[in-house]
């Protein structure tokens, strides 16, 4: 008890190792104590060598950036899936399920037409028409009469192709969680699509 008087008394200020071995001689000033954590980036003594400029360097650089962009557009770039929506809580008209059924049952096309025409969205009507034409195209390839329609449809599709496509595949992918169709459908679930 007596010897442990709060660090006072003899033995105070003694270290467990020999100070001289570390390099701090007796009577030398101690190095300044550190009051803050070491800086995030150590000071750079020598500036780095400049990067190679010139035609080759620039070409390879441009290539690299192009490749990066190109790979994002390829089908190999898999975007994360759209979250499942609870269809019981949302209005019915937001569901675009007609397309899926039409693709599989081409014979029931004609009777399905009248109920679909009562849809409010004009776009869906146009989509349906173009789809029906596409269906006919698939079933009767040698039918040359359809070629004029196909041309028109192609032009129409070119105009608003992107928007429509994204919306429609968006919903389908989440609604029909069917393993086999994943490979067949296009993978542009542009969840972050703005335009």
């Amino acid at each position: 008890m007596a010897s442990r008087g709060g660090g006072r008394g003899r033995g105070r200020g003694q270290l467990t190792f020999n100070m001289e071995a570390v390099g701090i001689g007796k009577g030398d000033a101690l190095p300044p104590s550190t009051l803050q954590p070491s800086p995030l980036f150590p000071p750079l003594e020598f500036r780095p060598v400049p990067l190679p400029a010139g035609e080759e360097g620039e070409y390879v650089l441009a290539l690299k950036q192009e490749l990066r962009g190109a790979m994002r557009q390829l089908p190999y770039f898999i975007r994360p899936a759209v979250p499942k929506r609870d269809w019981r809580r949302l209005p019915r008209e937001l569901k675009i399920r007609v397309r899926k059924l039409q693709k599989e049952r081409t014979t029931i096309l004609i009777p399905k037409r009248p109920p679909k025409n009562t849809e409010d969205k004009e776009e869906t009507i146009q989509k349906l028409e173009t789809l029906e034409k596409k269906e006919e195209e698939v079933t009767s390839e040698e039918d040359e009469e359809k070629e004029e329609e196909e041309e028109k449809e192609e032009e129409e599709e070119e105009e608003y192709d992107e928007e429509e496509h994204e919306e429609e595949t968006d919903y389908i992918m989440s609604y029909f969680d069917n393993g086999e169709d994943f490979g067949g459908d296009s993978d542009d679930n542009m969840d972050e699509a703005i335009y």
């Binding site: 390879v60 190109a70 390829l74 898999i78 393993g179 993978d187």
Partner: protein, 534 residues
């Protein structure tokens, strides 16, 4: 696989293939070979997504599969192949220099798609080339096929392993995964295709309205009536051959720097002659006689036989030992010491790194220790002519950076420090490995920083893209100058400044990545060559 490599692979996969593929890929790299269900369970992703991701990875040769006992298929990721993705621009640029635009596009398509059939490649490349040509001209399939065949002949593209044709009559149960075979002689065999056709332009103008239905008809016919003639024969880019080319380039430019242009041309000729005959992992090329070299020199070089002999002798006597003399028949048999050359290149890289990082006096000490192999503290100070205190400081700096290592030689069996020799030495292999690891970390940092910069300025980037799109569409519909001016002013001057800075930074970061990748190539080649010799 070190942590740095895994991190880099993760960044590369994410940038090029998206998050899902990245998750699966990194999991496979970390845990080794695993079956499908275990992957899905461990990563917590749905089975469909895992399947999709694996398809993408296998298509790009990043994952291989193997059938194990009881019909379980296991998938294994190839980390080193993922890291090759950094080098894609360099491969494409090399193809451009060797085979011009056609070759460049062929290699680009093969790299972007992993594996493709020859007909698909030819068609796509012809279409792309036609896009860039002037109106009215189209690219012929035959020309593209020719370039493709030349690429195959020089081994720059190779066939992927294919499903063996089963001749046995009893079908039996289908194996869960096909066992693909590949034979050396068939690897570069181009199938006899008669691809007739021209590239098609994606046109929206009126004059080609008649072209469209025809194109549609031909498309239908090729899809439905004729089967694709080379179905099942897939091609991929042969990365090893490109590496061989890079290595040759590095050696030639090293010789050019050290000696002169003519000697580098001689070395280039020797390398070209032994391209196909020497396997890529050999420590030195086949011996070539001086007469052969003389005959194969490029046409423009008319140096006399004597001068050539003198150059060869000079090259053989050079301390760097790029070229060695292996005999006297045929005017002197010479070989190129590939392994030694790679070693010199790696050493030069290390020296350069020490110089740039620690200063030229440290570099002097480093070169000294390299040359003398083992040196004591006192000897270093004397030979380098640097005062003791500074020399000690520099040596310790390099020691803590793992460029130099310490070798203990005890005088007494109890290894007492006062009675032991401590020798400084440079172990090139381990220093190269350390530097390689550092390079991986640097590239990962560069990519992260670039992504961070882009994310910071995302709003601004989107705005500028929108404005550009508006301007382009307005120009197409013929707007006046005043309107265009107005639209351009939507981006204020400081914003423009910010965009400029961003662009400059991103370019700098990208160029740095390319530069570090070159160092990685040298170091990896050296390490690989050393490991093969052991």
């Amino acid at each position: 696989m070190t942590q740095a490599e895994i991190k880099l692979c993760s960044l590369l996969l994410q940038e090029h293939f998206g998050e899902i593929v990245e998750k699966i890929g990194v999991h496979l790299i970390r845990t080794g070979s695993q079956p499908l269900r275990v992957i899905a369970h461990d990563t917590g992703t749905s089975l469909d997504q895992v399947k999709k991701a694996l398809c993408v990875l296998i298509q790009h040769n990043l994952v291989i599969y193997q059938v194990h006992k009881r019909g379980v298929v296991e998938y294994e990721a190839q980390c080193s192949r993922v890291l090759r993705m950094l080098r894609y621009p360099r491969y494409i640029y090399t193809a451009k220099t060797l085979y011009s635009d056609t070759g460049e596009l062929i290699v680009e398509e093969l790299l972007l798609n992993g594996k493709m059939t020859m007909s698909a490649v030819v068609k796509k490349v012809a279409d792309r080339l036609t896009e860039t040509m002037e109106d009215g001209k189209t690219m012929d399939y035959a020309e593209v096929s020719n370039t493709f065949m030349r690429l195959a002949d020089t081994h720059f593209v190779q066939r992927c392993p294919w499903v063996p044709a089963t001749e046995n009559s009893d079908p039996g149960p289908l194996p869960p995964a096909p066992i693909l075979v590949i034979s050396e002689k068939d690897m570069y065999l181009v199938p006899k295709l008669s691809l007739i056709g021209k590239g098609k332009r994606r046109r929206s103008s009126d004059e080609d309205a008649t072209g469209e239905p025809k194109a549609k008809r031909t498309k239908h016919s090729t899809d439905n009536k004729e089967p694709i003639p080379d179905d099942g024969i897939y091609w991929q880019a042969n990365l090893d051959r490109f590496h061989q080319h890079f290595r040759d380039q590095a050696i030639v430019s090293a010789v050019a720097n050290r000696m002169d242009q003519t000697s580098s041309e001689i070395v280039r000729t020797m390398l070209r002659m032994s391209e196909i005959t020497t396997p890529s992992a050999a420590p030195f090329t086949q011996p070539l006689s001086s007469n052969e070299i003389f005959r194969s020199l490029p046409v423009g070089y008319n140096i006399s036989k004597q001068v050539l002999d003198q150059y060869l002798t000079l090259l053989a006597d050079d301390p760097l030992e790029f070229v060695g003399k292996s005999g006297d028949s045929g005017g002197g048999m010479y070989v190129i010491n590939l392994h030694k050359a790679l070693g010199s290149l790696a050493t030069a890289t290390l020296e350069s790194v020490v110089q740039e990082r620690f200063g030229s006096r440290c570099a002097r000490i480093f070169r000294l220790v390299l040359q003398k192999k083992h040196l004591e503290q006192k000897q270093v100070e004397d030979l380098a002519m640097i005062p003791a205190k500074e020399a000690k400081d520099m040596l310790y700096k390099m020691l803590s950076g793992n460029f130099i290592s310490l070798q203990e030689i005890p005088k007494t069996p109890d290894h007492a420090p006062s009675r032991t020799f401590y020798l400084y030495t440079v172990n090139i292999l381990s220093a190269a490995r350390m530097l390689l690891h550092r390079c991986y970390k640097s590239i990962a940092n560069l990519i992260e920083r670039r992504q961070f910069e882009t994310k910071e300025n995302k709003r601004l980037l989107e705005k500028s893209q929108r404005v550009e799109a508006i301007i382009a569409s307005m120009q197409a519909t013929g707007a006046e100058e005043a309107q265009l001016q107005e639209i351009e002013e939507m981006i204020t001057a400081p914003e423009r400044q910010q965009l400029e800075t961003l662009k400059r930074n991103v370019n700098k970061l990208d160029a740095s990545e390319i530069q570090v990748d070159e160092t990685i190539f040298l170091l990896e080649s050296y390490i690989e060559s050393t490991m093969k010799r052991q």
